[in-house]
């Protein structure tokens, strides 16, 4: 069964999400997109492929309080799959104040959603002019950047080169691996945003491994979002690393927003790729390591109040 790619579009009010959606709906690109929006009226285009959603966040009954999903999204995606006209992609817009976690977790938690769709990327539209002020006054703005696989850095024409550099540096502090597309009036080529398989961490880590080389500094404030990357050059013990990650996410998953990694497991010729959103994790052996490829295990955590020394100790205890 082919899985339809889904792009989740987040961003603070006024960042330019609606501009981007209007472009996707009105441009001649020869593709068929279904768009799930939360405010029907905002999109000024009449199109039967625009679906009104209610952003209903439901807790799952599995004893995990941060395990929330979007109930409306499960229903809507199920309904769209019954239509005769198949879609090249589906876009989900979230409200400006939305926490991206429930929508991302929906793609881990619901079997039907998992079988028929795949999360292509979480794309966050950021307003270059106002983002620093938003980051100062609203925690959702930081969450949306921290969660992103890619960022459309919009309204770059309204800031100076120095201001832009400062904004990008601040974004990198929150999220070192997201791709940044600079844009004015969201004029980023759609092909660069959609169908990127950006949620597929293997590609991201492969494309820009230098993100993982810089040693992100540990933040002083417990509530600050930071990222921590870890590497190991010796193979890891498969059972130990799985147990460590499971325990870590069960205990600290509330603070860990995203985690991604590619691991070299002793006795296996394939790379183990894994990713997590809060407490939900999935991992799979993917392609084999290339003969001339350096077998390095790489891991990134993005979250609140992460302790580098603790994570490093845990990770190193998994070396076989």
């Amino acid at each position: 069964m082919t899985q339809v790619p889904v792009t989740v579009l987040t961003g603070y009010l006024g960042a330019g999400k609606t501009t981007l959606l209007n472009r996707i709906l009105s441009e001649q690109h020869g593709k068929k997109y279904a768009v799930i929006v939360n405010e029907f009226g905002e999109i000024g285009i009449d199109n039967d492929l625009i679906v009104d959603a209610d952003e209903e966040v439901f807790e799952m009954n599995n004893g995990c309080v941060c395990c929330t999903v979007r109930g409306d999204l499960i229903r809507i995606l199920g309904g769209l799959m019954k239509r005769k006209d198949k879609f090249d992609a589906i876009l989900v817009e979230t409200t400006g104040l939305a926490d991206p976690a429930p929508v991302a977790q929906t793609f881990f938690a619901d079997d039907d959603v998992k079988a028929r769709t795949m999360l292509d990327s979480i794309t966050t539209v950021v307003d270059a002019k106002h983002v620093l002020a938003r980051l100062a006054d609203s925690p959702e703005a930081a969450d949306q950047i921290a969660f992103a696989d890619q960022i459309v850095l919009n309204k770059t024409d309204l800031v100076t080169a120095d201001e832009l550099a400062a904004v990008e540096a601040r974004i990198r502090e929150l999220n070192p691996y997201a791709l940044i597309h600079r844009a004015q009036r969201c004029d980023v080529p759609l092909d660069n945003v959609l169908g990127q398989r950006a949620f597929d961490l293997a590609r991201i880590l492969e494309r820009e491994p230098e993100f993982l080389n810089g040693d992100a500094h540990e933040h002083e404030h417990a509530n600050d979002i930071s990222s921590i990357s870890l590497t190991a050059t010796k193979p890891l013990d498969g059972d130990r690393v799985t147990t460590w990650l499971r325990t870590l996410l069960a205990e600290k998953g509330g603070d860990i927003l995203r985690a991604k990694g590619i691991l070299d497991i002793k006795g296996r010729n394939e790379r183990l790729a894994f990713q997590a959103v809060h407490m939900m994790m999935e991992g799979d052996f993917q392609r084999a390591w290339d003969p001339d490829e350096k077998r390095i295990s790489r891991l990134v955590f993005i979250g609140r109040g992460l302790k580098r020394s603790e994570l490093k100790r845990g990770f190193e205890s998994c070396i076989a």
Binding site: F40, V51, E56, V69, D72, G79, M81, K82, R83
Partner: protein, 331 residues
């Protein structure tokens, strides 16, 4: 796509996801499709195509008198006669109509649009608001009370009373479907988790029915009302509802062959103690409860998405996600 092998009967390829199938009281069978069309098959096997919806049909039930009622992602609720004439019963803006229920005894029709449940009785219309989206609807066996499944429980509304508050049967989590036992003593919901939840109406005692490997999306009560049969596992799971306590502290009965696929839809014969099941690998089988031995009706193909017995129990309609549909005579 592999071609399904049929034991007997007539088959068609409709080229769209079959959302549901059902017979009305006159014996006409309707298949509702993801292209917005209905395919009506009369007792002579003649197929008539009508298109009540601009988009996809999302729900299908037999009209309390004759013909069919469908809801669609165009926000419309439509009555289509056996002859294929369509009349719009309701229209909503920007909402899908995924849930429709009928009460044959009182002639009531209910549908859900977003957080609202609406009961239609002739030209009268009563609407009932909920805190979250209504994901399932069912009238009680007498057709006087409507159950609406939503997040954290099921709300019960009297169809004919004005100025009432809902009686809410509470249970944490997202309830996606709801059904009453044929004697009205039990209410059962299907949940986002792979489980059912039940309530005994006399004292609102909770019943948990768990252990499924997949979400339960289809259920059927046997003709005596003693068992509720469900999808969501490799074999049909039947919960006993005969005694005062229903399935409380009882093991469910597992019916049918053990196969490497999941049951997707179930239907119970109105004529015999028999259950039919459609599977994710395209298999359809019938098993008689008092006479073990599986009768295979269809083999191979796409996941079965619709299954229904005719009112006389002598025909079985089945259809798949890819648009394969068939009518099969059954003994």
């Amino acid at each position: 796509m592999s071609t399904p092998e049929l034991r007997d009967g007539s088959s068609w390829t409709f080229d769209a996801f079959v959302v549901g199938c059902v017979f009305d009281g006159d014996g006409t069978c309707a298949f509702a499709l993801g292209d917005g069309s209905l395919r009506l098959v009369d007792s002579q096997g003649t197929v008539k195509e009508v298109t009540p919806h601009n988009g996809a049909c999302l729900s299908l039930v037999a009209h309390p008198k004759s013909g069919f009622v469908t809801g669609g992602d165009d926000g419309r609720l439509v009555h289509t006669s056996d002859e294929g004439a369509s009349v719009e019963l309701a229209k909503t803006r920007g909402k899908w109509i995924e849930q429709v229920a009928v009460a044959p005894d009182t002639g009531l029709i209910a549908y859900a649009a977003g957080k609202e449940a609406v009961i239609l009785h002739g030209d009268e219309r009563a609407s009932f608001a909920h805190g979250t989206t209504v994901a399932g609807l069912a009238f009680d066996p007498k057709g006087r009370r409507l159950a609406a499944a939503h997040y954290d429980g099921v709300s019960l509304w009297w169809a004919k009373a004005s100025n009432q508050g809902a009686k809410v049967m509470k249970w944490k989590g997202s309830h996606l479907g709801v059904t009453w036992s044929p004697d009205g003593r039990f209410l059962v919901s299907t949940m986002q988790e792979n489980a059912l939840h039940g309530w005994r109406m006399e004292d609102a005692a909770d019943m948990r029915m768990t252990g499924y490997p997949a979400k339960v999306k289809s259920w059927a009560w046997d003709r005596r009302g003693k068992f509720m049969f469900t999808s969501g596992a490799p074999r049909v799971i039947g919960w006993p509802f005969a005694g005062r306590s229903g399935p409380m502290d009882k093991e469910p009965r597992e019916i049918g062959p053990q196969r490497d696929a999941l049951i997707t839809v179930v239907a119970a014969s109105p004529r015999r103690d028999a259950i039919a099941a459609g599977m994710s690998d395209g298999t359809v089988w019938i098993e008689h409860l008092d006479d073990p031995g599986t009768e295979y009706v269809a083999l191979k193909g796409e996941a079965i998405s619709a299954l229904a017995f005719s009112p006389d129990g002598k025909a079985l309609a089945l259809a798949s996600e890819s648009g394969f549909a068939a009518l099969i005579p059954v003994g």
